[in-house]
């Protein structure tokens, strides 16, 4: 499956990207066609927040993409049609990707590439639709990006063409334990796929997981209570964003062909030239976001009356469609806080970092969307706990796993990092063997 696509990625100063222009009037960085995406400046005002104002570069990609997976059943077992796809930002080559992963520019063929295989199954919904929901992506790096996450069940006659393979759902879930292998787009679609099996025959944590996916299982808080909590926060938090000039961004400097924060933290905007074989287009250039440091993304999970709950955090990011989304318990880049006193660190980071091995249910390094982010890696962790470390905290809530699934039928409730962790949790229900700790 691996290595199908050769790809050479070379750093290039932003000023030297042949197909990209800086608009003098607006200060935006855009493709000469006016399509794909732009890199813009954003001024953010968040009265009452820990940082009340800041400015940052952000990617604006207004068009909706399709992230689609075809599913078929063989002998009752679900199989997914996955693609080996390389992207310039991937840390280690091709990744297991959805059947279709295409922006509108892709499939309307703005860059005159090849047609997108299997696309018609999603655009025409030829088959039984198992999931079909628009979801956000990184609200810290994308301004109101949304993609359509869709799973369509088809008959057994659909064949895998070159570069694609039918993998059993169990195999895909097992691959989720391999570092950097299943890409972000596949993970978010997997998160939205309704549960495909019951709890029968499992033991231990896998059995608890399966039982906790049953909508009839109880929950600490009713769904109405969770929705009201979110409605309250969304209506109370003030966040104002305003486009601004990329070339005049407070706190950021342009040097050596890249844009960096003056402290060296957060991320850089870099340029790359890409040469590829086996893709629609053989050569192109583009800007990318290159995060500084490796992130930590973790769910604390806990049994409440026998049902597993995840501790979700109502997180504000400037690019969200509606102010706040439900995020993992911990989502940060610990290195950004090394110079600060312990009190300034995000909550529960140390609890996750110091969790004893017997509490760790999942622990794998995964990377984010390699089409826009350059080697953006997060350590994804699920830690089981017996305690509530933040009882009554207004920004955290225990949500039963079946409630996460119910929320995922609708848009913009769970952020993309929480969706990855939800897919990882799903994977633990199906994995044959206990999953060993991954890298780091």
């Amino acid at each position: 499956m691996a290595g199908h696509t050769f790809m050479q990625v070379t750093p290039l100063p932003l000023e030297q990207l042949p197909e990209w222009r800086e608009d003098r009037a607006t200060g935006r960085f855009h493709h000469r066609s006016g399509k794909f995406f732009t890199v813009e400046g954003l001024d953010v005002r968040r009265p009452g927040g820990p940082v009340p104002t800041w400015s940052q570069p952000i990617i604006n990609q207004p068009e909706t993409g399709v992230l689609g997976i075809l599913l078929k059943r063989v002998g009752g077992m679900p199989y997914l049609l996955m693609q080996a796809k390389n992207e310039p930002g991937n840390p280690s080559g091709p990744q297991v990707s959805p059947t279709v992963q295409a922006t509108r520019s892709n499939y309307t063929r703005v860059h005159q590439g090849l047609p997108v295989p299997y696309l018609e199954h999603f655009l025409d919904r030829r088959g039984r639709v198992l999931a079909d929901v628009r979801q956000s992506e990184q609200g810290a790096w994308f301004y109101r990006k949304r993609n359509r996450n869709i799973v369509v069940e088809v008959g057994p006659h659909i064949e895998a063409v070159e570069g694609f393979r039918w993998l059993s759902l169990r195999e895909v879930y097992e691959l989720l334990a391999v570092p950097d292998l299943v890409n972000m787009d596949a993970r978010t679609v997997l998160a939205c796929l309704p549960v495909q099996a019951g709890a029968g025959g499992r033991e231990g944590f896998a059995a608890d997981l399966a039982r906790s996916r049953d909508p009839r299982a109880g929950a600490r808080h009713g769904l109405g209570e969770i929705l009201s909590w979110l409605s309250d926060i969304r209506s109370t938090v003030e966040i104002h964003t305003r486009p601004s000039r990329l070339d005049l961004l407070r706190g950021w400097r342009r040097a050596e062909g890249r844009i960096s924060h003056e402290t060296g933290r957060f991320f850089d905007v870099i340029g790359v030239r890409v040469e590829a074989c086996g893709r629609e287009v053989a050569e192109w250039s583009q800007p990318m976001i290159a995060p500084v440091g490796t992130g930590l993304v973790a769910f604390l999970v806990r049994r409440i009356d026998g049902v597993l709950h995840a501790l979700v955090h109502a997180r504000v990011e400037p690019g969200y469609t509606d102010v706040v989304e439900l995020a993992p318990t911990v989502q940060c880049t610990p290195g950004n806080y090394d110079h600060l006193p312990a009190a300034a660190r995000p909550l529960l980071v140390d609890e996750v970092m110091a969790a004893p091995p017997h509490r760790i249910r999942y622990d794998t390094m995964l990377s984010e969307e390699g089409g826009r982010f350059y080697r953006a890696r997060n350590r994804y962790v699920v830690v089981e706990t017996d305690e509530d470390p933040l009882p009554g905290h207004p920004s955290f809530h225990w949500v039963a796993l079946h409630q996460l699934d119910e929320l995922l039928r609708h848009s913009y409730y769970l952020n993309v990092q929480a969706r990855t962790l939800n897919a990882c949790l799903h994977s633990l229900t199906h994995a044959r063997e206990p999953v060993s700790a991954g890298a780091l």
Copy 2:
């Protein structure tokens, strides 16, 4: 209940509004405090739409307001705490309004008015929360406006202060049949209030309605299918909006102190001076949107396997948060099409206008938010039909009434006009007498 507040509203040229300024740099019209709202220009591009590009003025009010109703039970019967409230745009004086109807500027007292009674019940959620959901408002006149719709059940000890009255839910529903009496904010909250009674003891259409609110009743399309249909349209329709200068808006002219479309259609932006007694502030000035002509807003409803379904239309408006919302079967100002050939008229207008009286279940003139819209009136109609007038039309779908209720737990599915009609449909379940046709 009526007439509590005296209000004198005088037209004033936009240039002479004492508290409002036109920003030369941005071309926006704003309050000198920078708060409340702005009137801006918007350029809209909708490739493939019936009108592929247009420009228009639009109200930008980024802050979220609270629309809250307190509910209590006396002898098991629900009572709502309603307020008699006047607004400058109301066609005929005070209206039955929610317990609280306040923007953040109101309740943080930017204009140094009086405190907002009962607000604390909603901000602290003191009681049982029956509904709590953010919803859009008119996407043709507001840019991404959203309000929190909330109903809190309290104990029997809460008293009505001056200007407020506890009305039984049945009384409120009966008042919905009176022209221009129940305001838009009350209607949208009533639409989100879950059903408060079963079907027992009713006959005819009221019994059908009550039965069709039961989540266990069947439906023509499953909820997943409806969500997928909406996800498809939201991901397929292209609409791009860009702020532009109000003073350079293509197709609009500024004359006699107002902004009007060069054809005289759609709406004007006008200025008013308001003098009021019994409100927080005794005198102010503001711009308002004054629609040209009276609108027609209608649901066709139809029994499918004994369950009432409404024919919803996936409608694109430039101010929506996510491209499209589910709208009534018909939503238009018929006068805007008088000069055009029949083929250019919106679908089903004539069917609604010509519906025989025995098919009309609801027919009342209601007005829209009088704080921003000047005498904006729509004739709201529910017509029962035996047929599907648009079988297989890609922009229309039959949705069971209990599915409307389920969708209303979440944000941005049903637009504000569909929510009014949903409240009207709810009212017919409870009304003692058959509702006679209203004005017009």
